[in-house]
């Protein structure tokens, strides 16, 4: 395990060195491809001047706001739909259609409806988070084996007890993998919705840097977005490992 980590890190260093080397030797313009050292300097400078912070806060606000709303709706509706086979069957075509629909394509419409503030961005993020969570909740809650259901039936468990003590624990690992997918998608959702129209946020910063031909700044924002994505993903992992470890028994072995 340790050894593979070291190799991963080495690979990263080698890639950076090659990149730097190619840019320097070939004399590539930094409008086309800035060198890693240039990007690092740019990152450092903008952090020092405090230039990034309002943008990070704006994007984070959209990500968290949208993620919470989407997660609550997705998991909540998942619970309701999983209660009965009939509702599941009735709603099935809509679920598939809404999955297939490109949610990000709605951004211009939402800007039209709600203006350029936070609202359309939070709605987009919520929409993007909703579906993976909805789907994984429904799948997880229906994933219970027949044998366990028969056990609960023979023990005269009520519907609610079966839900709480059997279906929900079974669904837990599914819900968490849904959360992992959703949290990464939510960053994408926030950035794209900022492309459509925003003056704050990391997505807006990408558009601005494009206008200024400041490719270095654009790369800096890519890195920031990647780091934010990884941190959020890890955050979900930590929460699961801390509080819900026993429900994911199967994934450890």
């Amino acid at each position: 395990m340790k050894k593979t980590r070291i190799f991963s890190f080495l690979l990263f260093i080698i890639m950076l060195i090659t990149w730097e080397f190619v840019v320097q030797v070939k004399g590539i313009s930094k409008i086309i491809l800035p060198a890693p050292t240039t990007i690092a300097a740019n990152l450092f400078q903008h952090f020092q001047s405090g230039y990034f912070y309002p943008h990070i806060i704006a994007t984070a606000f959209e990500v968290f706001g949208g993620f919470f709303i989407g997660a609550i709706l997705g998991i909540g509706l998942g619970f309701l739909v999983a209660q009965s086979k009939t509702t599941q069957e009735i709603l099935q075509p809509y679920i598939i259609a809404s999955q297939a629909m490109p949610k990000l394509a709605l951004a211009p419409l939402l800007v039209l409806w709600f203006g350029f503030g936070y609202t359309p961005k939070i709605i987009i993020v919520a929409l993007v988070c909703f579906f993976p969570l909805f789907e994984s909740t429904v799948t997880g809650l229906s994933h219970v084996s027949r044998e366990k259901l028969a056990l609960f039936q023979s023990l005269k468990a009520t519907r609610f007890q079966t839900l709480r003590k059997l279906r929900l624990p079974t669904a837990m690992p599914f819900i968490f993998s849904g959360l992992r997918v959703a949290v990464v998608l939510s960053v994408v959702g926030a950035v794209i919705s900022e492309f459509i129209g925003a003056n704050k946020g990391l997505g807006a910063l990408i558009i601005a840097s494009q206008g200024m031909l400041d490719t270095t700044l654009m790369f800096s924002v890519f890195i920031l977005l990647t780091v934010i994505g990884i941190l959020l993903y890890q955050l979900i992992n930590w929460v699961e490992a801390l509080f819900f470890k026993k429900y994911s028994y199967s994934r450890e072995k």
Partner: protein, 254 residues
Amino acid sequence: MTIIACQDVSLQFKGDQTPVLDHIDLQVQKGEFVSIIGKSGSGKTTLLQMIGGLLNPTKGDITVLGNVITEPLTEITYVFQRPVLLEWRTVLENVLMPIELKKRPNQEDRNKAKEVLALVGLADHTNKYPHELSGGMMSRVTLARAFMTEPEILLMDEPFSSLDAMTKEQLQLELMKLTDQFSSTTIFITHDITEAAYLSDRVVLLGEQPARVVKEFQMPFSRLRPKKLKYDPSFIKVVKELYDSIDGLGGSSS
């Protein structure tokens, strides 16, 4: 005293041409240990599920403790073919499960669960999770869970069929002790003739299509039988007799 009575019970699944079980008549006395043997597909499990209230007969009535069965009764505990445990709960929490569905378990319940687990030899494993247990240990947990509620009636569907011979033998001894201690009336399904003869007061042979009770055998031994009974000529004779009557049904024996 008869506490389980099947009267002319039939079951036909929707869409099937012939019933699975037809004209089943079976009485079980209080405290009795009855084994049902028969070939695979003979409807043993189906019959047990009907007695347990998990399935309803299409014809006839099953009366348990004076009630016509339509749904599971609190007095009945069902033990499934494969050990069904909740993987996210420890051994102790799994055993407390039936209590938990009725009330919040208190210290007394926990102590009792530990006692029952000690009876099946799991005193040192109460805080383990199912994936840390062997197959035999999992079966022991399901036994402990079954006896946790001191069941008046115990329905067991081939509970030891997936175990190795040695573990099976030990669990048979433990089951014999436990049913005696809690004086549970037991219906036990198996396809192992020796197991049926060793554990039971009476062995019921299910056969033919649709299945019915072909024959019943009273076991001429007292309860709490020693392990070595299995090598006693009188025991071997009984087993042979059972074997011959199963074989006489034709087809391949399972």
